[in-house]
C-alpha cells in the first residue's frame, strides 16, 4: 500500500467540559485503506469520527482530508460520508428517496439518476426494495440503505460508526464479509469505528487502538495480535497471560529475563531495548501454551499446574490452570481437534504447560 494519506490528524484534541474525549490524536490514514478505530466504549472513537465528518470541531489541532485543512469546512462541503450508528434512515422517504437524498445537486438527469440508484441498489443487494418505506426494512436492510446512500456520493472516505453493532451475530459475520468485499469493489477508504476487537481484526488493514482519548498503537491486525507494544493493547485484543519479570541482561541480541513463574528465559531482543533491571511483563497467548497430561521428559520451558475451571466453546476449550506461587490462574486454549463429547478436563488433574520462547512477548511494566 502506498503511503498516501487521505486523512491526517495533527495533534487533534477535543474536550467536553472536563472530559477529554480525544487527546492529541496524531496519525494518518492511507488512501484505499480499511482502517479501524478500536477501543472500549467511551474512549473517544465516535468523537474522532465526528470531527472528520464535521459534526464536532477540535479544540486544538487540525483534521486534513486529502491535504485540505477542514476546520472551516461545514459537514455538507466535506468529501466524506457517514453511516450512522443508528443508520438515520429518513422515515418520510422510501429506499430510493433515501438513496437519492444526497444527489439533489449532482447534475444528473432523472434517467441517469435512476440508473445510478439501480446500480447502487444492486451493489448492496437490495434490488426490488426501492419502493419500501423505512419502517418496512429489517436492521440489516436499513444498514444497507445507509451504506448505499453514502456510497452513491462517491466520497473520498466512508465513515462508519459501529455499523454492525445492532445486528445479530450471524448477520454481523455475513455483513463483515460483505463490507470487506464492498470496500475492495468500490476502492473507497473506509474509516470504521468498533469496540469489537474480533470485528476489527477481521475487517481492517490497520487498526488504531484507543483508550481514554489516546491512540495507544496503530498496526496491522497480525502485528497487534502477535506483537503488541503495550500491556493495554495485549490485553484488549484477544486474551493474554502476563508474568512479572525483570531484565537480567542483554547480549548477543538475546534478552535474558528472570520471571516469577516461568523461571529464567531468553528471548530475541526486539528493537525496543531494555536496560538491565528494568521491570517487564512477559506475556503469552492462551493458544500458545501447549498442555500435556503426563510429565514431559524435557523439563525446560515447562510449568506444572493443576486444572481449574474450564469452558467448552465448540471448536476449542478454555481452561484455567492453577500454578504454585501464582495467585492468578493461567488461561489455556486448546483446539478440539478430535470429535468427542468428553473434552472437559477433570478439575485437579495435573497438567504441564509447554511453550516456545518465540511465542513470548516482552512488554514494559511500570
Amino acid at each position: 500500500m502506498s503511503q498516501d494519506p487521505i486523512i491526517s490528524f495533527q495533534n487533534v484534541s477535543k474536550s467536553f467540559g472536563e472530559v477529554k474525549a480525544v487527546d492529541g490524536a496524531n496519525f494518518e490514514i492511507n488512501r484505499g485503506e480499511f482502517f479501524a478505530l478500536l477501543g472500549p466504549s467511551g474512549c473517544g472513537k465516535t468523537t474522532l469520527l465526528r470531527m472528520v465528518a464535521g459534526f464536532e470541531t477540535p479544540n486544538s489541532g487540525e483534521v486534513y482530508i486529502d491535504g485540505q485543512p477542514m476546520s472551516a469546512t461545514p459537514p455538507n462541503h466535506r468529501p466524506v460520508n457517514m453511516v450512522f450508528q443508528n443508520y438515520a434512515i429518513f422515515p418520510h422517504m422510501d429506499v430510493r428517496g433515501n438513496i437519492a437524498f444526497g444527489m439533489r445537486k449532482s447534475g444528473l438527469s432523472k434517467s441517469e439518476l435512476d440508473k445510478r440508484i439501480d446500480e447502487t441498489l444492486e451493489l448492496i443487494k437490495l434490488q426490488g426494495y426501492g419502493k419500501r418505506g423505512a419502517d418496512e426494512l429489517s436492521g440489516g436492510q436499513r444498514q444497507r440503505v445507509a451504506l448505499a446512500r453514502a456510497l452513491i456520493k462517491h466520497p473520498k472516505v466512508l465513515l462508519l460508526d459501529e455499523p454492525l453493532g445492532a445486528l445479530d451475530k450471524k448477520l454481523r459475520e455475513q455483513m463483515q464479509i460483505e463490507l470487506r468485499q464492498l470496500q475492495q469493489q468500490v476502492g473507497i477508504t473506509f474509516l470504521f469505528v468498533t469496540h469489537d476487537q474480533e470485528e476489527a481484526l477481521t475487517l481492517s488493514d490497520r487498526i488504531a487502538v484507543m483508550t481514554e482519548g489516546h491512540v495507544k498503537e496503530i498496526a496491522s491486525p497480525a502485528q497487534l495480535y502477535e506483537n503488541p507494544k503495550s500491556r493495554f493493547v495485549a490485553d484488549f485484543i484477544g486474551s493474554m497471560n502476563f508474568f512479572q519479570g525483570e531484565v537480567i541482561d542483554l547480549n548477543n541480541k538475546q534478552l535474558s529475563i528472570s520471571t516469577d513463574v516461568l523461571g529464567e528465559i531468553s528471548v530475541p531482543a526486539s528493537d525496543s531495548d531494555y536496560a538491565s533491571k528494568s521491570p517487564v511483563w512477559v506475556a503469552i497467548r492462551p493458544e500458545k501454551l501447549q498442555p500435556v497430561f503426563s510429565a514431559p521428559d524435557d523439563s525446560s520451558n515447562v510449568i506444572e499446574g493443576e486444572i481449574g475451571p474450564s469452558a467448552y466453546l465448540g471448536d476449542r476449550s478454555h481452561f484455567y490452570v492453577h500454578i504454585e506461587k501464582r495467585e492468578e490462574p493461567v488461561l489455556v486454549a486448546l483446539q478440539n481437534l478430535e470429535r468427542s463429547s468428553d473434552l472437559h478436563r477433570n478439575p485437579f488433574q495435573k497438567v504441564w504447560l509447554k511453550w516456545s520462547n518465540a511465542s513470548l512477548v516482552v512488554l514494559p511494566r511500570n
Binding site: A53, G54, F55, P74, P75, N76, H77, N81, M82, F84, Q85, N86, A88, F90, P91, H92, M93, D94, G97, F101, G102, R104, K105, R149, A150, K153
Partner: protein, 284 residues
Amino acid sequence: MKSESLRGYSLLSPTLLAMVLGLAMPLVVLITLSFWIQDYLDFIRTFSLKNYTDFFQKPIYIKILFKSIRMSGLVTIATVLLAYPMAYFIAFRVKHNKLVWLILITVPFWTSYLLRVFAWKIMLGYNGVINSGLLSLGILSEPLEFLLYNPTSVVITLAHAWAAFAILPIYVSLEKIDRSLLEASRDLGENVFMTFMRVTLPLSLPGVIAASLLVFIPTVGDYVTPALVGGPRGIMIGNIIQSMFGKALNWPLGAAISVMSMITVTLMVCLFIWGTHNFRKRVA
C-alpha cells in the same frame, strides 16, 4: 371472544356514554331542529327544507360563513407561523429546563379567555396602550382608528388566544425528530436551510396539521372575540348563529346555519389534510 369484546365495551362505556350524551345527542337534536320551522314562540314540527333554502337564497349567510373561514384561515396561518419558531426554539435550542419554558408559554392561558380578549381591547383601543404609547412618543398626532373593531383585530386576538394550542403539538413533533437525521442530511450535502426544508419540516408536519386543526376548527365558530373586538365589520358566523338562538328568535334557522357551517368546516379540513398529504409525498 365474545366476553372479551363485552369487557372492551364495558371498559369503554363511561366514555361511550359521555360521547353519546354530549356529542351525538345534541347533534341529533340540532339536525332535527334544522328541519323544523319557527312559529313565533313555537316550532312547526313537520319536515321542511325552508331553513336550508333560506340559507342558500339570502347571500348574507354564505358570505359571512366564507368570511369566517377566511378569517379563521388567517388566524390559523398567523398562529402556526408564530408558534413554529417558538416550538423550534424550545425543541432544538433550549438545552435545559424545557419544561419550564413550556409552562411559561402556558402562563397567559391561566387567565380567563374573556380577560385576554378584553386585554387586547385595551391594547388596540382608540385610547388603548398602542395608540397612547405612540402618541406620547410623538410618532402619531392622532390615534389610529384601524386597530380595533375590524377583522384584523379579531385575527390578532384569536391568534394570540390560541398560540399555546399550536405551540404544544408542533413542539412535540419537533422533539420527536431523531437528531441524527438532521446530521445525516448535512452529511449528504444539504445546508441548514435545505435540511430544514427536506427533513425537519416534513417530519414536523403532523404537529403542524394538528396545530392547524386545533386552531382552525374552534375559531370558525367563535363568537366572543368578534363580538368584543370585531365591530360590525368583524362579525363571524358564530355571531349570526348566536343571534338566531337569541334576539332573532329563529332556532331552526340557527340550527340549519350551524349544520351548514359544520359541513363546510369538515370539507375544508378534508381538503387541508389531503393537501398536506400531497405536500409530504412531493417532498419524499
